[in-house]
Amino acid sequence: MATSQSGSPGHSTILCAGLNAHSQLQEDTTDDIHKLRPIELPSDRREGVDVLFSGWSNTVLQSGNRIWSQGFQKLDATITANENGIYTHSAFGDHNGLLGLMSPSGDVTLVAPGPESGTSTLQPTSTDSSPQISHIALTGTDRIAITFRQAPNGRLCHVAEFENLEKFLSWYRDPSDAESYPDKHHMLPGRPKQLLGNMLSFLLLMEGGEVYSWGDARYQSLGRAVVGEGATAAGKPGVVEALGGLKIVKVATGGWLSAAVSEDHALYLWGAASEPGCEGSIKCLQEAGAGEVALVGLPAEAHSEPLDVVDRTADFTPLAPIVTASSV
């Protein structure tokens, strides 16, 4: 996984660590990177670089209008900015690489694989009938969720779910076709701020600070009860009640683990660090029940600094690096 961090003003460093079997973090080796270190960048693109997508086999970076992939997928392309000069809003992909991008105006562009492990190319895919989307996310089981663009004063968030990318695309290109209707449709109060997917479930953070989760309830990944009185079924978005009352400003998720940072810089975790049969667990989560979250204690000197969580980990990575102004 790769994470960006601000160092001295105007200059950002991207630190990386973890799986490197496709040389997605460091070119000259396929060994794991055990300690955070600056990611290798091409010599002509060292300024203003950000991580667009971090996956099991590649890392996609962006600098201005250029995006490129390091690792298994071969990609080197130009994207267009919207009228405000802002480039891509969000990216989604899987263990084989980047699958698509969504611009700030909600246009979806696909990443089409090249012939015989050749270079991939970008393929705009919106049509005139394509609905306006504000967020898109993918789970490790290939399910896709999207939120519809809201009017500036809109208060109702519409979420649609699709079984896989293909089904989403056929609906996206022609939503009037009855065969292509979304698998599920949810309506929730609020304005969406972040929509993320991990191995089995989705996480939706509203601008008002509420967090919804839905998908598969295994491994406590939803952070909420799914049976019992008043509980929302796993397949429908339900509020992560343990965070109720807190205003959450950012969420992150990967693998079976989720994290939320509150307005007052406290960090909460829920889920599992790994599936059964694997070693390793997170101490503070060991005693948490299905609907519980754990408050993570950080060393005293970190408390005074604003906390941030990297939200661009791959669906597969079970770690969410915690970033402060001066340390990770």
Binding site: A21, A217, R218, V226, A234, E275
Partner: protein, 495 residues
């Protein structure tokens, strides 16, 4: 090409060259040696070298066989659906691909695991084994210490106190158990067979037969009826037509080799590659108790930790597991009872409510399950959507049965917090309400009766099964089973 029983002559020059005596004779740690046993480890340098060479040749040969098998891939094979990124590194980084496949396997709904992830897990397991074998072969070679040091630094082998073979068996068994070996079962079988031959002369521990003390007779007012068998399936079908009730058939499994062979735990060891084969063990009081878990461990560890000691901190139970699919040799020790081929009468209204009945498939052949555990294993009161014959081979078990018509008095559970439907299991803790070997606490009995008032009114039948007994449990009958001694049983499910 590996040929059995050949020894490669050593140059006399090598005799005086000291080489590391790391434990590569696949001897299990801490085992007692029989005085008369011929062990691989000898004090004579020549024999040691010969055996190392034999081992080396076997390792090379197995690695090559696996490689040859893995090289046969078809373009439209299911595993291609995983995409090229994992396939690109599967030979060089099988561990990473295993991790990916493991995660994807656990992401699927319980009922349907996509074939391509199972294939990837299977394939990556075999790649990892090939790598381990090659690395091990290089280590066994007495020359080239520099190469060996490099390999030591990079080979990710689980530490098994020097038993390299155990590490390889673990990868193989996990590969089979998690993937179901949908594409390469023959490769796994072939490797196990050759490994078995390789360790055929390994010494075995000095274990004696399981100590079984016959429990006192159960004086019951509601015993399960007993009939002297065996029955052929037509006779039994007539019995069912007249009265579809549970029955204990005696004398039906006398021709099972298991009756003689399974009394000695050493026999189990021999057929599980010296106890190295990994089996799933349930640890904890019962599958509804807190802290209950399942894990895989070598058969030898299971026997030594949970089966042989008189007292254990926790109960370990090798339960509801098709040991016979994993260890074909054991399959030959049992025979499917004829009655499993009878056509049971259609289920009555009560039995039709049995949990899971609507989703279960028609079986072409009965499902076999092994149940091997110490005294004190408890299987909570539950139903199965199949007809069942439970054959008692070693030891004694208490069984209590309630007919489907009593279901409403048995307080079936609902859906648990993880979303798993547990309605085939009763909420009543039977172990508190009955005991033959220890007195139930009066407060516990009162508590259960208060919480489940209707339960006391439910009618039941009960018995103690002993070696040679076969118990027929009709579909939908609630059953509670508790072992009174070390016990080894086999169940057959059919419909």
């Amino acid at each position: 090409m590996y040929t059995h029983g050949t020894f490669v002559a050593q140059d006399t020059d090598e005799k005086s060259v000291p080489h590391d005596r790391d434990d590569d004779q696949s001897a299990l740690p801490g085992q007692k040696r029989k005085a008369s046993g011929v062990l691989v480890m000898q004090s004579h340098d020549d024999d040691n070298d010969n055996n190392q060479h034999r081992a080396n040749e076997l390792l090379q040969s197995l690695a090559e066989q696996i490689q040859d098998a893995l090289n046969v891939a078809t373009p439209d094979e299911a595993v291609q659906q995983c995409g090229q990124a994992p396939l690109r590194i599967i030979a060089t980084h099988p561990d990473k691909v295993l991790e990916l496949a493991h995660t994807k396997l656990h992401a699927s709904p319980f009922q349907s695991v996509p074939l391509h992830w199972r294939r990837l897990f299977e394939e990556a397991s075999l790649h990892k084994v090939a790598k381990l074998l090659k690395d091990r072969a290089l280590r066994v070679h007495p020359e080239d210490r520099a190469k060996r040091r490099r390999i030591d630094n990079h080979t990710a082998v689980a530490s098994h106190s020097g038993d390299w073979l155990l590490g390889i068996v673990e990868v193989l068994d996990r590969g089979i158990s998690l993937s179901g070996a949908p594409g390469r079962k023959y490769v796994f079988d072939g490797i196990f067979e050759q490994l078995g031959e390789h360790i055929a002369n390994e010494a075995t521990p000095d274990w004696t037969c399981f100590r079984i003390i016959k429990p006192p007779d159960l004086k019951s007012t509601h015993p399960i009826i007993r009939k002297s068998g065996p029955f052929d399936h037509e006779t039994f079908q007539e019995h069912l037509r007249i009265d579809c009730q549970p029955v204990i058939i005696t004398g039906a499994i006398e021709n099972w080799p298991a009756r003689q062979l399974w009394e000695n735990p050493e026999y189990l060891l021999r057929h599980t590659l010296g106890g190295r084969r990994f089996v799933p063990v349930e640890v904890g009081e019962s599958y509804v108790s807190d802290g209950w878990s399942q894990r895989m461990m070598p058969m030898r560890d299971f026997v030594e930790t949970y089966l042989l000691p008189d007292d254990t901190a926790e109960t370990g139970y090798l339960a509801q597991y098709d040991l016979f699919a994993q260890i074909p040799a054991l399959r030959h020790d049992v025979r499917i009872p004829d009655i499993c081929y009878s056509d049971p009468p259609p289920a009555n209204a009560d039995a039709l409510r049995t949990a899971g009945l609507s989703t279960v498939e028609q079986l072409d052949e009965p499902l076999l399950n092994a149940w091997l555990g110490p005294k004190g294993t408890k299987t909570p009161l539950h139903t199965d959507p199949y007809h069942n014959v439970l054959c008692q081979v070693v030891g004694y078990k208490y069984v209590r049965l309630y007919p489907p018509s009593e279901t409403d008095r048995l307080y079936p559970r609902g859906v648990d917090e993880k979303g798993i439907n547990m309605e085939n299991t009763s909420r009543v803790d039977m172990s508190r309400l009955w005991s033959l070997v220890h007195d139930s606490l009066a407060e516990e009995v009162d508590q259960e009766n208060r919480e489940f008032p209707l339960f006391q009114e439910a009618r039941f039948v009960e018995a103690v099964l002993g070696p040679g007994d076969s118990l027929y449990v009709p579909l939908g009958w609630w059953h509670y089973v508790e072992s009174l001694t070390t016990s080894f049983s086999v169940s057959f499910w059919w419909n």
